[in-house]
């Protein structure tokens, strides 16, 4: 498997707090990487640094061999990076179709795409996440689950190579969560994307992830297959706790 993203020694501090400390990892093409850690471990900071919202203090991020450390978020989006947000952030005054069409227009550069073509393309992504019937509804009137799905459609419409998913399960009931997992699995299959998945629900990652990276205090605790990571002493000590399987 070819290396898609190479993160080497990134460090990010906020004042005196070290949020990410000398973290390095690779993401290979076509895999699903889980990313776990206790609250405040720096998971979201890592995603913010990788997607360009925050500048790393030191270290380097490479995508497909191109150094993207100093690129702005929109340039990274053109390179094929997309993300979803922990709390859904829709465009409240735009309809579902219009918000997906925006990312179809602005994401990775397409040849010969007019505004109307983008609208047609957006319907495809809306259909994929099951929001076709809600296409003309303003995003502020959608339910929480639909917002999550809209956000997924919006990210997929930029035609990413690598998708950062930030806690997609939070706030969903078990039925919705199952739908969401299946949808992400289908998206991975159909669009050929690589997924970097932050999640607190271990059962989800055990099922979907090929590899899990666990961090604490901004430092890497463990990395390996799901089974290796959940049996790692340091991870159990810092995050999972003994007897976690009873709750998962």
């Amino acid at each position: 498997m070819a290396k898609l993203l190479k993160v080497s020694n990134i460090t990010k501090t906020f004042g005196g707090i070290v949020a990410v400390n000398n973290l390095s990892f690779d993401i290979h093409e076509g895999e699903t990487v889980g990313f776990i850690g206790p609250n405040g471990a720096g998971k979201s900071t890592v995603v913010n640094v990788l997607s360009g919202y925050l500048d790393a203090d030191s270290g380097q991020v490479e995508m497909n061999g191109v150094n993207i450390t100093n690129m702005k978020p929109h340039q990274r989006a053109h390179m094929g990076l997309a993300r979803t947000y922990q709390i859904p952030r829709p465009f409240p005054e735009l309809t579902a179709l219009a918000s997906v069409a925006t990312s179809a227009l602005c994401g990775k550069k397409r040849v010969n795409q007019s505004f109307e073509d983008a609208m047609v393309e957006a319907t495809h992504y809306l259909e994929f996440v099951g929001l076709f019937s809600k296409r003309a509804i303003l995003a502020r009137d959608l339910t929480f689950y639909e917002l999550r799905m809209l956000e997924l459609a919006r990210s997929l419409a930029t035609t990413p190579k690598l998708l950062f998913i930030d806690e997609v399960m939070a706030g969903l009931n078990p039925g919705e969560a199952r739908d969401a997992i299946q949808l992400i699995a289908r998206a991975k299959e159909q669009f050929g994307i690589t997924i970097f998945w932050i999640e607190h629900v271990m059962a989800v990652l055990m099922e979907s992830a090929d590899r899990i990276i666990a961090i604490n205090y901004g430092e890497k605790l463990a990395e390996g297959t799901p089974d290796e990571v959940v049996n790692n002493e340091a991870v159990i000590e810092a995050y999972l706790g003994r007897g976690w399987k009873a709750y998962a």
Binding site: G52, Y53, H74, P90, F91, T102, L105, K108, A118
Partner: protein
Amino acid sequence: MVDIELKRDRVTIRLKDKKWEWIIEPRYWRNSIIWVALLLVFPAVAYFISPGLINAMISANLLAAIAIPMSLMTLGTGRVNFGPNFFVGVGGYAAALLSIAYGWGPLATLPFAILITLFAALIFSPLVIVARGLYYVLLSLLLPFVFFEVTIIYTDIFKGDTGLFGIKPLLDLGNARINFLVIAYISIVIMVLFLWIINKVVKSRYGLIMAAINDDEEVAHGIGVNINKVKILSFVFSAGMIGVAGWFYAHYFSSFAGQTYLTFTFMLKIFLAMMIGGRTQIFGCVVGGYFVTFLEMILIRTMGPIQPVVFPIILIILLFALPEGLFGIYRKRRYREYFPTIHVRR
């Protein structure tokens, strides 16, 4: 190079690897044609009733011609600029000073007025990147006042205390009434042109991108919008359009004074025109412009000197009573649009 093709109901324009489609739908033209026809008939009718009415109409058209680009600026930058009259001042002073210094006519000063306004806007455009929220409001509010101070400090150039006189008039056809009539038509052409251009922009992909920026800048950045470019371009080009109104004022009255255009009262009139029609509803700006002008006419006749006090009160009442504006009522009743309503939230 540019490949234009008409197929069924749409014109397809191709340039390199880009493609634009322009859908031509005559069945939706009825309302626009009716309104433009009314606008064209109105001055001709007013010509026989009273020339004062034509004068009011010219002011209304110009107010709308400022409020329409102002809506675009508000939409594209995602911020409310509280100093649109700054660009009126820049365009007007540029036209006035050039006309007085070199004896140029209106056609010669127009390109320079636009260029100078664009340049001034470009200088101040970093504001839309560095400042947001209340800070942007304060900074943009300061611009016209600072410019007004400058005109008073350098009074030998700008004649800040008395105003500039002796600018070449816009038209001179010999007959004052016919002059008025033709000037009214010129103002209508400017307004309708702005309306048409900006409507096209708002309905195109760029309008959608601007709406996204207006809703959430960071997310728009994340999905691949070059937000700084879009914000600066919409700021600068709307400013250039507002500068045209300044050029018109200077040549229309043959005089230009910061006292009239760079003050709070004039800014309030622009805002009233923008808000009454509906926030960033560009068609509402026309309604708003006419409403404000005729309201002012009535207030001056009935109230006299306390008229400036009444204006803000009416503005506040209307903002509470009609949060969506007059055009908002129409839209709510006949909501059948495919595209979203684009509001300004900040």
